[in-house]
């Protein structure tokens, strides 16, 4: 009797501990080896782009919180930037600094979650996540001081931010910035030389430079493949041209490089925060005067930023009324997961999970 084998189809998700939300992977397996992967998306679709057409421009800001809910401040920022481009609004100096500080804290928070859950996908039983959460908790406390919310802040406004920051916020940030390098060293000590982490992630799920560029990947996924591309330096928005920071890039584009790039970016964010805190004006307006029923001129604008997960863009078409005629969101992670199929073929199930985890997706953004 001869033994016959045939591939079988396994549904990973939509309810699965490692899909980071309601994501479904239709995987064809030959034993443990992944033969093919078909990502199925749309379980979290809320029609944000269509809903936005029926609301005023300011009312749309809370929707942007719910895209990438782990970095809602930067989503607010990208939307507001698009609006400011459309109506040509000058943002006050102090508001710009507040925006930069918030974006960089948000980047640290988002990368902490990404790295923690990446190691969790490797099988390290929640410990790294809880260590990362120790710092993220402080970040959430800081945002709670300014906005009263811990996850969905709805803080930025067209032309600035909704209110000035309270007195206890800046000391808290300064304390955090002073402590953070020590914690990052601790993570490096715990993780960077771990033999199992190295053998599991080095050389796994390589995304070559050419492929990364041709699919339009962005953020840490693109930089890990060795492309030095960061909107903060290439096309500085807000006041990023005033800060001095490096763009860490990987060499091979494997899972380890993506992990490493995120760890380095957190250090660079701390550097930006230090400079921003030193330069920030003591007093001043925090919002340009924008009418409550804001009517931008007819036209269209595209505002894009370097969000923690990549290039986040908002395309807005205005017909001169109080609501956008059309709002389109360019989500970085939706573009980044298109590389998944090429990256996982031939690897094992366990590798599929960590490759998917290393892209760092948030389903709120993919499904919109």
């Amino acid at each position: 009797m001869s033994i016959q084998t045939e591939p079988f189809i396994l549904n990973i998700g939509p309810q699965h501990p490692s899909t980071h939300g309601v994501f479904r992977l239709r995987v064809t397996l030959d034993g443990e080896v992944v033969v093919n992967v078909e990502p199925v998306i749309g379980y979290l679709h809320r029609g944000i782009e269509k809903l936005a057409e029926g609301r005023t421009y300011t009312q749309n800001i809370p929707f942007t919180d719910r895209l990438d809910y782990l970095s809602s401040m930067t989503n607010n920022l990208a939307y507001c930037l698009a609006m400011e481009k459309l109506a040509d609004i000058k943002v006050p100096e102090r508001a710009e600094y507040i925006r930069v500080i918030f974006s960089e804290i948000m980047r640290i928070s988002s990368h902490l979650m990404a790295v923690g859950f990446f190691i969790n996908d490797l099988g390290a039983m929640m410990t790294p996540v809880l260590y990362m959460w120790r710092e993220r908790e402080k970040i959430m406390d800081m945002f709670e001081m300014v906005s009263g919310q811990r996850l969905l802040y709805n803080f930025m406004r067209i032309g600035g931010v909704s209110q000035d920051i309270p007195g206890e916020f800046l000391p808290a940030v300064k304390k955090f910035v002073a402590e953070m390098p020590k914690y990052l060293d601790e993570y490096d000590q715990l993780l960077a030389k771990n033999e199992i982490l190295l053998v599991r992630s080095k050389g796994v799920g390589i995304l070559p430079k050419e492929t990364a560029i041709s699919i339009g990947a962005s953020g840490p996924v693109l930089r890990a493949s060795g492309v030095k591309w960061d909107i903060r330096q290439l096309d500085p928005y807000s006041i990023y041209e005033r800060f001095d920071f490096a763009i860490p890039t990987g060499e091979v584009g494997d899972c380890y490089d993506r992990y490493w790039v995120r760890m380095q970016e957190m250090r660079q964010s701390v550097r930006i925060l230090e400079q921003a805190l030193a330069q920030m004006p003591e007093k001043g307006e925090v919002c340009a005067s924008v009418p409550q029923f804001f009517r931008p001129p007819r036209g269209e604008a595209y505002g894009y930023i370097e969000a923690p997960k990549g290039n986040l863009g908002f395309y807005i078409v205005s017909d001169g009324s109080i609501a956008p005629y059309r709002l389109h969101i360019y989500p970085p992670t939706l573009i980044n997961i298109t590389a998944l199929q090429d990256m996982v073929k031939g690897w094992k199930v366990a590798d599929l999970i960590i490759i998917f985890g290393s892209i760092d997706v948030v389903l709120g953004e993919i499904d919109r």
Binding site: F8, L10, H16, P17, S18, L29, D30, G31, E32, V33, V34, V35, N36, I119, N120, D121, L122, G123, A124, M125, M126, T127, L130, Y131, R134, N194, I196, L197, V199, R200, G203, V204, K345, G346, W347, K348, V349, A350, D351, I353
Partner: protein, 370 residues
């Protein structure tokens, strides 16, 4: 040497008929062992959860009783009250039997583990071989569970279980043989009595091989591929709930306790120790071993399945064989009174071999063309 049970039976024979004097103490002994195992398992569950809390900079359960000591009991009540769900397309009979086949052999291991001087159910002259044989039966139960559940995740877990457990059985057994060579007996009591110097000092390499192999045998991190929750959700017990799930859960901690007991017996000189009563020494040692296991679980990520196999066949197995050869030569050449020579030699060998392996051998594995 006679065990406490033998002495009790002999004493009863004076005024009871012979069959009753034999059976009644034996059943009493079995009940005592089961009660002992379940008590320690409950303690282990609490201990692991509190320790994991400490490792993960959180508190851990602390609501039920002082320091949350009654939390495992609350968990047990919750699990037992849950609805027992059997999948529609499952093989119902095998689905029912599997947890029993997993759990019962684990209890049977404790028959030959000496808890204190003479406190052993049966002092088999092939005690350690009995342990190796009995502990392998659980694999069949795990495979039955994964097959009968009719679930693809548990099927992957079943495939992994056979590969993993069969591979790691070999280094485990070979490192046991090293111990047996020095002790000169298969009997668990004699092995403990032979340890004037604990065997962990005489055979550090054997201990490392046995400990890593045992981690794989009991599906503990970093070898917990059978229930890898980030990959295959819960593995073989994904379709189990209620009492049947509780059997797997108890079995998981029971096997950890069993291996902690075996490690204590084989390498840590069992109940022996200065000052304290023997039973306290035994408890301290099994808790220390379990703490080490929990520590590894809290710290290390998981290996991939092909790396797991190459670690067994290219890493542990040659090490175990070399350890066996070295120990055999030493037993032949070094007289028993000069055991300290063996201690120095074997630490040197262990250091050299581990360094050599870490240089020569990497856990690679990688992409397959599809």
């Amino acid at each position: 040497m006679t065990t406490l049970l033998d002495q009790f039976q002999l004493w009863l024979k004076g005024f009871w008929p012979e069959w009753a004097a034999y059976i009644v103490p034996a059943i009493a002994g079995i009940l005592v062992i089961i009660a002992f195992v379940l008590t320690i398992v409950i303690f282990y569950i609490w201990w692991e959860r509190r320790l994991l809390g400490r490792f993960q900079i959180r508190t851990g359960p602390n609501r039920c009783g002082p320091e949350g000591i009654f939390q495992p009991i609350a968990t047990a009540v919750k699990i037992l009250l849950k609805e027992d769900i059997v999948p529609d397309k499952a093989d119902k009979l095998i689905h029912f039997i599997a947890p029993i086949i997993v759990f019962v052999p684990i209890l049977m291991i404790f028959a030959v583990i000496p808890i204190s001087e003479g406190a052993i159910l049966v002092d088999l002259n092939v005690g350690i071989i009995y342990v190796v044989a009995i502990s392998s039966i659980s694999i069949i139960g795990i495979f039955m569970a994964s097959w009968a559940s009719n679930n693809k995740y548990s099927l992957i877990s079943g495939m992994r279980s056979i590969a993993q457990m069969v591979s790691y059985e070999l280094p485990v057994v070979l490192s046991i043989v090293g111990v047996v060579l020095v002790a000169g007996s298969f009997s668990m009591l004699k092995i403990v009595e032979a340890q004037t110097i604990p065997f962990i000092l005489l055979q550090p390499l054997g201990f490392i091989v046995f400990f890593l192999g045992a981690l794989a045998e009991m599906n503990r991190s970093p070898f917990d591929l059978l229930e890898a929750d980030s990959e295959i959700v819960a593995g073989y017990h994904i379709e189990y709930s209620g009492m049947k799930f509780a059997m797997f859960y108890l079995g998981e901690y029971g096997v950890a306790l069993a291996y902690a007991g075996i490690i204590t017996t084989l390498f840590l000189s069992g109940w022996q120790g200065p000052g304290l009563p023997p039973i306290i020494w035994f408890l301290i040692k099994i808790i220390a071993v379990f703490t080490l296991i929990v520590w590894m679980r809290a710290t290390l990520p998981r290996l991939r399945v092909d790396q797991l196999m190459s670690f067994a066949w290219k890493g542990l197995l040659p090490m175990a064989v070399l350890n066996l050869v070295i120990v055999a030569v030493e037993v032949l050449l070094i007289p028993a009174s000069m055991q300290w020579v063996m201690f120095i030699l074997n630490f040197a060998f262990a250091a050299v071999l581990i360094l050599l392996w870490s240089k020569l051998f990497t856990l690679g594995g990688g992409r397959v063309e599809v």
